[in-house]
């Protein structure tokens, strides 16, 4: 017979809320349903119950007994996050599990007990491990194991923390027999009928023939009859683990300033990163959904250069994003969604130089992206274009160290160096030619460049004007012309005539003349 484990989170709406606000654990807290005078207590913390408060009381009644009662509405975001955390904990023990929105998780234990075979009581050990996993996710749990879902659930609800209840295989009927019929949660009509028949306990119902019960009460009656016998009328319907872990909450009142929001966001990010850490995953993209007051949503995405788990950096990125683009309305709730991915692994070598720590590198790149923008940080590559200075930026991902570099890989030794310092954007210049058509003299010009200007950056700020030394004087040496033509098929082809020019000041500039308009520019300095 298949064995089933049930993990039950008692007072689930309250547990989900306390998971998001752990500072309230020692307070008198109540989860309230409804608004205004019809608001009623749904669940209460133990501290609140000590004052004589009970579920079903109106909030006004409760406040008249305990004025310091902290009331919170049901929070769908908190409960969704708590269910996701419960699912992740369940998945660590069994690949087949079914979630119940009331804070229950049913696990199919087929093939899962081999891990604990060396223990005297494998089921007991599994139940304790499951309880610990759920506790690490910030939720209290009670665990029961039986051969049917109902028996496992009732065993879990009767268990205590640290003492899971195990119903031996085949004894579900005995376990269920003395329990009240209300535990099956029948419909009102069926409950009335069974009461009229004198059926009070699950044992009484199990003694009735299934066919007779079905004939009188229909399909619902058939299911109840099988449940009372400790059998599942339907198979487990596996739930899928959450694809995008999320953490969030609804706020008690809308927030208009950044710091209080970040205080709450930090706690949510901590929980989210904690869940990723438990799965050895990092976050490669973080989405933030804000619920705005009175209506509307604001969704924003932070792309990270590499999977990372640094809470401080993620919070900084969220701060900078909100500062750069405020939501424009008070925020009444928020949810973080993390796109998970495996972090980069680093294999160190005994004889090779140490590699950069992948976590630290990911954090650094994220901070550089946030400071400068993603288009100003990366690993440069030539594009293969003829035009000097053309480049593309790729994500910086250094290859693993192969070992000691070979001597043969050294570049050929020269007496000096030859390097060009690019001038971006190119600097317009005025060139006077000699009778042979070669540059003879350069003069500075104040004409705005005809080249497309790159003055606006990706962060929306105007970049400062380019710096370059004065390019003027008599030409001492002129090397050229070097013809360069590119994209002849394009609507804006490039055709240039390049000259390397040494001035009497000693500066050597790389200059060119555009064929289309005859303008001269300097796009590099030999330095």
């Amino acid at each position: 017979m298949a064995r089933m484990a049930c993990a039950c989170v008692p007072l689930f709406p309250l547990a989900a809320r306390l998971r998001a606000e752990p500072e309230l654990r020692s307070e008198a807290v109540a989860i309230v349903e409804g608004n205004g005078p019809t608001a009623r207590l749904l669940t209460l913390s133990r501290v609140a119950r000590r004052y004589g408060l009970r579920p079903g009381m109106t909030l006004a009644q409760a406040r008249s007994i305990l004025s310091g009662l902290i009331a919170r509405p049901r929070d769908a975001a908190c409960e969704r996050s708590a269910l996701e955390a419960l699912a992740e904990a369940a998945e660590r023990l069994s690949p087949r599990f079914e979630l119940d929105p009331r804070g229950l998780a049913y696990l199919d234990l087929e093939g899962c007990l081999e891990r604990f075979a060396q223990h005297d009581r494998p089921e007991q050990e599994l139940a304790l491990v499951l309880e610990r996993e759920i506790d690490r996710a910030g939720l209290p749990a009670r665990v029961g194991i039986a051969s049917s879902r109902l028996a496992a659930r009732l065993a879990a609800q009767g268990a205590r923390s640290g003492s899971p209840q195990i119903v031996p295989c085949g004894q579900e009927g005995t376990f269920l027999a003395p329990l009240s019929l209300a535990r099956l949660d029948p419909t009102f009509d069926i409950a009335q009928t069974l009461h009229a028949w004198g059926v009070r306990t699950l044992g009484d119902l199990a003694r009735l023939p299934v066919e007779e019960v079905t004939a009188r009460l229909g399909e619902e009656g058939r299911k109840l009859a099988w449940l009372a016998r400790g059998r599942d009328p339907s198979p487990l319907v596996p739930s899928e683990p959450p694809r995008l872990p999320s953490e969030g909450m609804s706020l008690e009142w809308p927030l208009a300033s950044l710091e209080p929001f970040l205080f709450l966001a930090r706690a949510a990010l901590d929980r989210l990163i904690g869940r990723l850490e438990a799965e050895a995953l990092g976050c490669v993209r973080l989405e933030l959904e804000l619920e705005l007051e009175p209506a509307g949503r604001d969704r924003r995405t932070l792309d990270l250069p590499a999977p990372m788990r640094d809470r401080k950096t993620l919070l900084e990125l969220v701060r900078w994003n909100l500062e750069a683009r405020p939501p424009g309305a008070p925020v009444s709730g928020f949810t973080f969604f993390a796109h998970p991915d495996r972090p980069r692994a680093a294999q160190l070598g005994l004889f090779a130089p140490p590699e950069l720590s992948p976590d630290r590198l990911a954090t650094t790149l994220a901070r550089l992206f946030a400071l400068l923008g993603p288009d100003r940080v990366g690993s440069p590559r030539p594009t293969g274009a003829h035009r000097p200075g053309a480049f593309e930026l790729l994500p910086f991902a250094p290859p693993p160290v192969q070992g000691s570099p070979e001597e043969g890989s050294l570049p050929p030794r020269r007496a000096g160096l030859l390097a060009v310092r690019c001038l971006r954007p190119p600097v317009p210049i005025e060139v006077h030619l000699d009778p042979r058509g070669r540059p003879a003299r350069l003069e500075a010009t104040s004409t705005p460049t005809a080249e497309p200007s790159a003055r606006s950056s990706s962060r929306g700020r105007i970049s400062p004007p380019p710096s370059h030394p004065p390019l003027e004087g008599r030409v001492r040496v002129a090397s050229g012309p070097w013809w360069l033509e590119e994209l002849w098929w394009h609507e804006t082809p490039m055709a240039r005539e390049y000259w390397d020019i040494e001035l009497d000041s000693g500066l050597i500039a790389r200059t060119y003349r555009e064929h289309k308009n005859g303008l001269w520019f300097a796009d590099g300095l030999y330095d």
Binding site: A352, P353, E355, L356, S357, R360, L361, T364, L368, L371, L372, R376, V377, G378, S379, P380, R381, P382, P388, G389, A390, F391, L393, F396, P398, P399, Q402, G403, S404, P405, L410, P411, A415, G416, L417, L418, A419, V420, R421, C422, L423, S457, R461, S463, P464, S467, H468, P469, V477, S479, G480, D500, E502, G506, L507, I508, G524, L525, Y526, D527
Partner: protein, 244 residues
């Protein structure tokens, strides 16, 4: 305030020798024995380790007359056309060809990847950071130092510098961060900026351009040889402080 000699009796073996007497004793030792003896003063001064890939940067070794020191801020000063950027590329090539990662904080946006690859830089190991102001350049340099890059070059580009020269406190902070990590930090600037925060400053003189016609009418620029005008080393290093 009374001295110890006036309050307590002298030790049984007599007073310890003065510094001059100690120096005299050391000088009379054989050279081989002298290298084994360290005074408290030399022990207090932290030892400077060379970068293991210094041998691949012959231009730098010639300028420094030795290896590139780790945990140091080296200031390279030179006007445009004196070969400063060529030295920067040589340093990046030496580090990346030794399977080390390097970072270039390029304030002037001067790098040409094609020419860098031709100079020997392994681009897949180079992180190119392109700030637009000096403040951004300093912040990103500090972030990069904390990451663990063994070679970081901050090239301030051509004059005038965007954002001014920075304050002495900013450069001192950067030097202290460099001291806390096994990194060679080079600040390449058209004029002196780091001042006393630098462990060593190299000032370049006029470079020598070599043109060769090779029998043709059009001359070819073959090489630009940087020349050292002056090297200055700080007499006392900034105290090593814990940098968070």
């Amino acid at each position: 305030m009374s001295t110890l000699s006036g309050v307590l009796p002298p030790p049984a073996g007599g007073l310890p020798p003065s510094r001059d007497r100690l120096r005299g004793i050391l000088e009379r030792l054989e050279p081989r024995l002298r290298s084994w003896v360290h005074t408290g003063e030399t022990l207090r001064r932290p030892a400077i380790s060379p970068a293991p890939w210094s041998a691949r940067a012959p231009g730098w070794r010639a300028l420094l007359e030795g290896d590139l020191p780790l945990r140091s801020l080296i200031e390279l000063v030179g006007r445009p056309g004196q070969g400063r950027f060529g030295l920067v590329l040589e340093l990046l090539a030496a580090a990346t060809r030794s399977e080390e990662n390097a970072a270039l904080v390029d304030l002037g946006d001067a790098l040409d990847p094609d020419l860098a690859a031709a100079a020997g830089v392994r681009l897949e190991r180079l992180l190119w950071i392109r700030p637009q102001r000096l403040g951004q350049a300093l912040a990103t340099t500090e972030i990069t130092l904390h990451t663990g890059f063994p070679c970081v070059v901050l090239d301030l580009g051509l004059p005038p510098l965007q954002g001014g020269r920075g304050t002495a406190a900013q450069w001192l902070r950067l030097a202290r961060v460099a001291q806390a990590h096994p990194v060679v930090l080079v600040v390449s600037s058209p004029f002196v900026v780091a001042g006393g925060a630098a462990t060593c400053r190299i000032e370049l003189g006029t470079a020598r351009a070599q043109w060769s016609a090779r029998g043709r009418e059009i001359p070819l620029l073959e090489v630009l040889s940087p020349r050292k005008r002056r090297t200055a080393r700080t007499l006392s290093r900034p105290p090593r402080a814990a940098v968070g």
